[in-house]
């Protein structure tokens, strides 16, 4: 017993210190990016100005002067929001059907859905560009980006919702059915309130993935529907020399979602189990 108490006294100091250290190391790159965004391009690469420098907003004003930052940001908000909404509108009924009326094929359907996410986007990029530009004429529209973002995140969303719905006792829904509640009423009045936590965290994760998507959003847009990933794409070309500018653009692109993540992290943590917790 003595050994245990000894160790725990040592552990009382050592473990928290270690945990803080690890957390700070993990956070450091983000901190560094934000810090660099307040340096001039010249200062950013000088060792003597690592931490002591005259902060400047020059990079941010340059960014808003040279690029329509707010348009990119607005596009990101619009596309991510609507893609998330559509994913839920399509995903909730699907997950409901799979969780409460499973058939022999439910598992295979779910696995097939997930496997669609493993197809490399590059393999179908050319057909997609070809179709959307030449046949459908929806290239570089919000509609297309919303549709694509919704589709690429749908499998994960359905899976998350499914694992959540499965935890809900079937009896509750069956009792409602006895009382003559319609399917739609079941979903609206029983399922959604009961699984609200899971739906919220599914929405959050989908929103994050939509916001950060940088393959389709860059390649299926030019100006109209271009999101923040496109802004990053356009700014990363001159390597090495413009750390200040690069950091400002990156910070402006990343911070909205990081802050959202901070505020909702409790919600996200609760829902991000994928059925791992029994």
């Amino acid at each position: 017993m003595a050994a245990i108490t000894n160790q725990s006294r040592f552990g009382k100091i050592a473990w928290p210190v270690l945990a803080w250290l690890v957390a700070l190391i993990f956070f450091f790159p983000i901190f560094w990016m934000v810090l660099t965004s307040f340096k001039t391009d010249a200062d950013a690469v000088k060792p003597e100005f690592l931490f002591s420098f005259t902060p400047t907003l020059e990079n941010y004003t340059n960014m808003t002067d040279n690029y329509d930052y707010w348009k990119f940001a607005l596009n990101s908000v619009i596309t991510a929001t609507f893609a998330t909404l559509f994913a839920l509108v399509v995903g909730v009924p699907c997950a409901y059907a799979m969780a409460f009326n499973p058939s022999r094929h439910t598992k295979d359907v779910l696995m097939w859905m997930l496997s669609t996410k493993m197809l490399p986007a590059a393999a179908v990029l050319y057909p997609m560009t070809f179709l959307t530009k030449n046949f459908l004429g929806i290239y570089d529209t919000h509609f297309l980006i919303i549709l694509v973002l919704c589709l690429i995140n749908l499998p994960i969303a359905i899976w998350m919702l499914f694992t959540y719905f499965k935890e809900i006792p079937k009896e509750i829904l069956e009792a409602a059915k006895m009382d003559g509640v319609t399917t739609w009423g079941e979903i609206r009045d029983i399922l959604i309130p009961l699984a609200w936590g899971g739906i919220a965290s599914t929405a959050l994760l989908t929103f994050i993935f939509c916001w950060n998507e940088a393959y389709w959003t860059v390649r299926l847009t030019t100006t109209e529907a271009a999101t923040l990933s496109k802004l990053i794409e356009g700014n990363r070309a001159p390597e090495g020399l413009f750390f200040g500018r690069l950091s400002a653009v990156s910070t402006a692109a990343v911070m909205p979602i990081v802050v959202l993540g901070w505020f909702c992290q409790k919600q996200l943590v609760q829902g991000l189990t994928f059925g791992a917790v029994k």
């Binding site: 928290p16 699907c94 669609t116 057909p127 990053i232 992290q265 943590v269």
Partner: protein
Amino acid sequence: MADRTLPKLLQTPAVILLLIWMIVPLSMTLYFSFIRYVLNNLRRPEWTTPSLSNWRGFGNYEFVMNNKDFVLAMTNSLFIVGSILVLTVILGLAIAVLINRSFPGRGIVRVLLISPFFVMPAVNAVLWINMLLDPVLGLQGIAVGGINDMIDGLRDFPVLGAFFSLWPELEPISFRATQTSAYAVIMMVTWQWTPFAVLIFMTSLQSEDQQQKEAAILDGASNWSQFINLTVPHLARPIAIVVMIQSIFHLSLYAEIEIVSRGNGNKNLPYLIGEFANNNIGAASATGIFAVILANIVAIFLLRMIGKSLMD
């Protein structure tokens, strides 16, 4: 009967959408992979429009398989995904156990730790390769330079100087070379996805049977054997999920490779497809089909194996 049909029908919109999303582009890719189809060719302009008369059979596939980069891209894809999986699971387990107990500022530690997961992959790559890892201008270069200066200074010391003058000058590592850039990619993706593993492991650690643990402590089990015999088996499912979701995402890794390795020879399958697609759509499509096959092999091994345990 009727009240069972409607609920079942509710999954059709999702299934149909995903079916179209998969089948239409995939069948076009399949078609293009069997014909000669290039975007620019002055000598053979007829090849620049897709048509059955340009049928090439398995020619594109042969061309791709004989390409010297193909095997490299294939093995690199697996190497990168595998390394990331191993690293994130180990780091994720260690960190989840570390922050599972309560201590001052745990909430803030958790917020700091999960932040990398929210960062856009493109920003992640730009940030790491330039500002952190650049051998001259990045923190790596600055740190190596600083250490070298320090050692230089110490060389002038009496007595001790003789010892320090034996030390070599440190050379910063360039992460833009073929092999090292794969390490850089592994590093940055691990940084981004370890928080995801931590999140999932943390949630399931909280559901661990505490009574069982107390019993083990009373029986004199060491911390390590508790961890191996109780915690790790308890985490088998979450580990499976972390492995599965990450394979789904990292097999199609693109942005990081493109930013870090552009033109230096390090490539994975999606990147090789992108390279072909600059002109030779036929070859790009054939490579795409190979990538689909690879994804399916992984899917069969992984999703099926893990999927079974997930459904009960």
